[in-house]
């Protein structure tokens, strides 16, 4: 229906829209000048500056800690919540799913403000714990959503069979159910991590003055015009790092398939 040329054209347009800003930032991370409109020569000093700019370095560490904690908590909770939802009577399911999907479809700014209002009414002091709570809040629904389809495919008798064969309730879940829905759990964990590490708006509303993640750090620096291009360097490391990891995984899984065929 589409010619080969128009197919590649549309793919290229899509990829250009996504990659142009990333490439610009990557170029600037090697630029010796502070000003983004002139190129003074190649440098690696911004890569060093990631470690010397204390506030940036802390923000990066915070981002990773929050993302890891949020991922672990939301994946664990989400798995058990999904297990419970799958056992619900059909008539309750739509309501529960509606509640679950609300944070996903809600605009970030509304979620952020909602959490800010409720946290301040509850008297929480804003900082890392409120931000973590907020991240767990918006990550968990994604985990639930990615696990539920896997549970649907699961044979209803698998759990009973495990119990008949002598497993305890706990063993049946750990040894039979969890391995069967493993892909859903991993997908959910990855989505949770991605959402958390890239979040700006919700973090902005739920953190206190002393605690920032990478996004809120950038935003505050942009408005104060004390931006450090080391942030470009960090972003480039992340993109290149994930690219290499994905290429590695892809090559490895191809190798695995070859072995299987042999």
């Amino acid at each position: 229906m589409m010619s080969k040329i128009s197919k590649s054209m549309i793919l290229i347009i899509g990829l250009m829209l996504l990659y142009i800003p990333i490439i610009i930032v990557c170029l600037l991370s090697f630029n010796d000048s502070m000003r983004p409109y002139e190129f003074n020569g190649f440098t690696l000093k911004w890569y060093q500056a990631i470690f010397t700019d204390k506030s940036l370095f802390n923000a990066i560490i915070n981002t990773w800690l929050i993302a890891l904690c949020a991922m672990i908590i939301s994946t664990t909770a989400g798995t058990f919540i999904a297990l419970q939802i799958s056992k619900l009577k059909q008539k309750y399911k739509p309501l529960v799913m509606f509640l679950n999907n609300m944070p996903i479809l809600n605009a970030d700014i509304v979620t952020g403000i909602s959490l800010m209002i409720i946290f301040s009414i509850l008297g929480f002091s804003f900082g890392k714990y409120t931000m973590l709570l907020a991240h767990v809040f918006f990550c968990t629904p994604f985990v639930v959503l990615s696990i539920l389809p896997r549970l649907k495919q699961l044979d209803d008798n698998a759990y009973d069979a495990a119990r008949d064969l002598g497993c305890s309730h706990f063993q049946a879940i750990i040894k039979v159910i969890i391995p069967a829905i493993k892909i859903g759990i991993i997908t959910g964990a990855l989505i949770a991590f991605t959402m958390s590490i890239d979040d700006f708006i919700i973090s902005y509303y739920t953190t206190g003055s002393g605690f920032s993640n990478f996004s809120t750090w950038i935003y505050s620096r942009l408005n104060r015009r004390t931006f450090n291009p080391a942030a470009y360097a960090y972003n480039t490391i992340i993109i290149l790092g994930s690219l290499l990891t994905l290429v590695y995984i892809n090559l490895n899984s191809k190798g695995g398939k070859k072995i299987e065929k042999n």
């Binding site: 229906m1 589409m2 197919k7 549309i10 793919l11 899509g14 990829l15 829209l17 142009i20 800003p21 990333i22 490439i23 610009i24 930032v25 170029l27 983004p36 409109y37 190129f39 909770a77 058990f80 919540i81 419970q84 529960v96 799913m97 509606f98 509640l99 999907n101 609300m102 996903i104 479809l105 809600n106 605009a107 970030d108 700014i109 509304v110 403000i113 909602s114 959490l115 209002i117 409720i118 301040s120 809040f137 994604f142 959503l145 539920l148 389809p149 309730h169 879940i173 509303y205 990478f214 996004s215 950038i218 935003y219 942009l222 942030a231 470009y232 993109i239 994930s242 690219l243 892809n250």
Partner: protein, 272 residues
């Protein structure tokens, strides 16, 4: 599993506390005149409703609708063919690589990506080396490009999932019954991928209209969208009443969309 578990009721209570109680509070705040969350001087008032109709805000409403709608439409026009092309790739490894290429940019920080465009759109940019000056900052086009670039993956993936879920036998049946490629697309593939399209449109439109950082950076503060309006009322002027009213309207729109999407997409798996 027969053992009753406490975690689901707890989760529902948690969702109600964090979603619906704030929503009720916002409705309450929308009908009151207050400064911040200071409940001691709170009084009933319809001042926020008067403020929302103030013509100085019309531009923000109009901008939000026009710019976000254009971005959503562009995302659909670019994203649908891409989703279709990816789903038609037969070789697994090639398909995975192209899928990954569309996921990878999401791991770059959103603000950094917006800054990338900002740097490019400035009259003085790296492009001056080539003798080009885009000078787009402050133009609606800059904001639309920024939105499409930021949210395009959110259009591609729901549509891709919807097309992938489609029963191949239906497409074969359509060919067997004499339909050509174009007819098969129009009468089989397109209607069956509509849930993905609805999902994608929502996932692009709402964030576009409410992301306050994007217009701030790409318009130099000249173009104000709904998100900026809400943000400035909560963050700068502490006019929580007006900010709440805007949020309540937004939530109502989201509710209606959700009911619509829930109706079209029973499994709910097109949201991710």
């Amino acid at each position: 599993m027969k053992t009753p578990n406490i975690i689901l009721p707890l989760y529902l209570i948690w969702l109600i506390i964090l979603v619906f109680i704030p929503f009720l509070l916002m409705i309450f705040l929308a009908f009151s005149h207050t400064n911040g969350l200071d409940f001691s001087h709170i009084r009933f008032s319809l001042i926020n409703f008067k403020e929302i109709a103030d013509p100085i805000y019309f531009n923000a409403y109009l901008n939000s609708i026009i710019l976000s709608a254009s971005a959503s439409l562009l995302c659909l026009l670019i994203g649908y063919p891409i989703a279709l092309i990816i789903s038609k790739i037969k070789k697994n490894s090639l398909r995975n690589i192209i899928l990954i290429m569309f996921i990878l940019p999401m791991w770059s920080n959103m603000l950094i990506r917006i800054m990338g465009w900002e740097i490019l759109f400035n009259p003085n940019s790296i492009l001056n080396v080539l003798g080009i000056s885009l000078d787009l900052i402050g133009s609606p086009l800059a904001i639309i490009i920024g939105m499409v670039s930021t949210y395009l993956p959110f259009m591609i993936f729901p549509i891709y999932t919807a097309i992938n879920k489609l029963d191949q036998a239906l497409i074969e049946a359509s060919y067997d019954l004499g339909a050509n490629k174009r007819q098969t697309f129009r009468k089989v593939i397109l209607p069956l991928s509509l849930p993905g399209i609805y999902s994608g449109l929502t996932m692009v439109f709402l964030p576009s209209a409410t992301n306050f950082a994007l217009p701030e950076r790409l318009s130099g503060g000249n173009i104000v969208l709904l998100g900026n309006l809400i943000n400035s009322n909560f963050g700068k002027t502490f006019n929580y009443g007006f900010g709440s009213l805007l949020s309540v309207i937004l939530i109502t729109i989201i509710f209606i969309t959700m009911i619509f999407i829930n109706h079209k997409d029973k499994d709910g798996d097109l949201l991710i």
